[in-house]
């Protein structure tokens, strides 16, 4: 049976490339390239795999800015069929993001909403629960396998000390864990085709302040010695000395 799947994609600054100021420890965020957030890629992959298996359509939603088209093009190259970029994202406010996305989803036919369980930049992990409340749809979170059939979905969910298989009626919200799949690297032809595909763009209807005041934002102090030896013959005696000071 074909499914209508909405996949939520977050675009973030490339935090792996981000440095912090040597003196103040503050993050240096200017001119950082943007990329699709890690678990959003797993979410896209999961949605596209469900479509490949069952048929249907995958619609990508980004709450972002006018710089978000690049992320949507990458999503197209991975197999997303249609995309909406909703502009108006400013700083990280999960409550606002949830309201904007829930507003859009309410007007969209969908059997499943798929998103990452936590995002690699802030880990708030709030969006799945918030969307579930705002849409009145069940959430099955931290999924490593998703099997829809007969108006139901069966999901294997990872918890800290055990796993569970849960089921619910569709439509449902499913948040995915990193282990669910290995996101594909699209071939060049698909990337080129994606570049020509139109992207729907609209302005978010809501705008509210997060009400959060940042008092400080700094790298935690690390006073490691950083004695790195490229010659093992020199490094091994130092390491052994350090170990032997602790265990005798």
């Amino acid at each position: 049976m074909p499914y209508n799947i909405a996949v939520l994609i977050k675009q973030i600054p490339d935090i792996d490339q981000m440095k912090t100021d040597q003196n103040t420890g503050e993050p240096m965020t200017q001119n950082l390239p943007l990329r699709i957030e890690n678990l959003s890629k797993n979410a896209i992959e999961a949605a596209v795999q469900l479509k490949e298996k069952n048929g249907g359509k995958v619609t990508g939603l980004i709450f972002g800015t006018d710089r978000s088209n690049a992320a949507m093009k990458e999503a197209y190259a991975m197999g997303v069929d249609e995309g909406f970029v909703i502009t108006g994202y400013q700083d990280n406010s999960p409550a606002l993001t949830a309201k904007v996305l829930a507003g859009k989803l309410k007007g969209m036919e969908h059997d499943m909403v798929i998103l990452g369980n936590q995002s690699a930049d802030t880990y708030t992990g709030l969006l799945p629960g918030m969307l579930s409340s705002l849409l009145g749809e069940p959430l099955i979170g931290n999924a490593i396998s998703v099997e829809p059939a007969d108006g139901q979905v069966k999901v294997t969910r990872v918890l800290e000390d055990h796993n569970v298989i849960l089921s619910s009626k569709l439509p449902a919200i499913i948040s995915v864990a990193q282990e669910i799949n290995e996101p594909r690297l699209p071939p060049v032809l698909q990337i080129m085709a994606a570049g020509r595909k139109p992207i729907n763009s609209e302005q978010a209807g809501i705008n509210e302040e997060s009400g959060v005041k940042v008092l400080s934002d700094r790298a935690p102090k690390s006073d490691r010695k950083r004695e790195v030896y490229e010659d093992p013959e020199k490094g091994i005696p130092e390491v052994v000395k350090a170990i032997k000071e602790v265990i005798r």
Partner: protein, 297 residues
């Protein structure tokens, strides 16, 4: 001031109650199976949830307790389930959330909180009107308090989810949090059989074996209870030896409090060397036997 504190994990609830009771009165909420283990952690009352529990019916129960009482804050242990409940509750109650906290302080009705930001590269301190907050596991060492809490049973309502099967995870009796020496292997190990080549080192340093997330989750070369990191164990051994671990920030978040960090990695630019006291650039399969030999002589 008064707080309502929930976790599905008994030790996280013990830690959270220990942390919060120093600032304000608190009531606790947990599933019935764990309720007996949290009666001595300073809560006025423990609500014990009966019935099959899912994020949605737990959220409804907490919401009802919150609305019938007079609470200033709701705290949830930051577990997978805790974060889902935090999202659901904050949206349905219209209360501001703040999650993954490593510290909390009330200040004139506001919340002053600290959490990791930018993928763990920085710690951000914020002031907000947050009322629904999740506390990271390990926020305090659990300490029993004097006196026992009153208890009240709460019957959970219906859920939109149903349980098909519960799958226990393979676990070993390892206590990484208390280990004095940890040898952690990363994806650089390359193959499961590599474990046996690392074991002599683990023995020589009288340590415990741990792994990065790919090693424990994706490849299952080690059991999941040996995973160190943001979504695994937070450890603070005297010596932490990382072999073939790149040192992504989510890994560092779990071992940052180690006293001395030693890293072996074949890539001299691997980020782990930034977080190491001693580093050796090289193939772990060549370095490890040499380390063992040198330790024994």
């Amino acid at each position: 001031m008064k707080a309502l504190v929930y976790s599905d994990n008994v030790s996280v609830l013990q830690e959270s109650l220990t942390y919060i009771r120093k600032m304000m009165d608190a009531d606790g909420v947990t599933e019935a199976e764990g309720a007996g283990d949290v009666l001595n952690y300073g809560a006025g009352k423990i609500y014990s949830l009966k019935g099959d529990s899912f994020y949605d019916n737990i959220s409804s129960a907490i919401r009802q307790i919150y609305e019938n009482g007079s609470y200033d804050f709701i705290f949830l242990g930051s577990t997978t389930l805790g974060r889902e409940i935090a999202g659901s509750l904050s949206a349905s109650l219209g209360l501001q959330p703040m999650t993954e906290l490593i510290s909390f302080e009330p200040k004139d009705g506001k919340a002053v909180t600290r959490r990791f930001a930018h993928g763990g590269k920085t710690v951000v301190e914020e002031e907000s009107g947050a009322k629904v907050l999740t506390l990271m596991p390990g926020i305090a060492d659990p300490e029993p308090a004097e006196g026992a809490s009153a208890t009240e049973e709460v019957q959970l309502g219906d859920s939109k989810l149903s349980l098909v099967e519960r799958i226990e995870k393979q676990a070993t009796a390892v206590n990484l949090e208390k280990a004095e020496v940890i040898v952690c292997v990363g994806r650089g190990l390359g193959k499961k059989e590599g474990i046996s080549e690392v074991e002599p080192l683990v023995k020589a340093v009288k340590g415990e074996l741990a792994g990065s997330r790919p090693v424990c989750l994706d490849y299952q070369w080690l059991t999941e209870d040996r995973q160190v990191g943001l979504s695994g164990k937070k450890v603070k051994p005297k010596i932490y030896i990382a072999l073939g671990v790149s040192g992504q920030i989510q890994h560092i978040a779990g071992m940052r409090d180690s006293k001395t960090v030693i890293a072996v990695n074949k890539d001299k630019d691997a980020p782990i060397f930034e977080e190491a006291d001693y580093g050796i650039v090289g193939d772990l399969y060549q370095i490890v036997p040499k380390l063992v030999q040198a330790l024994q002589s």
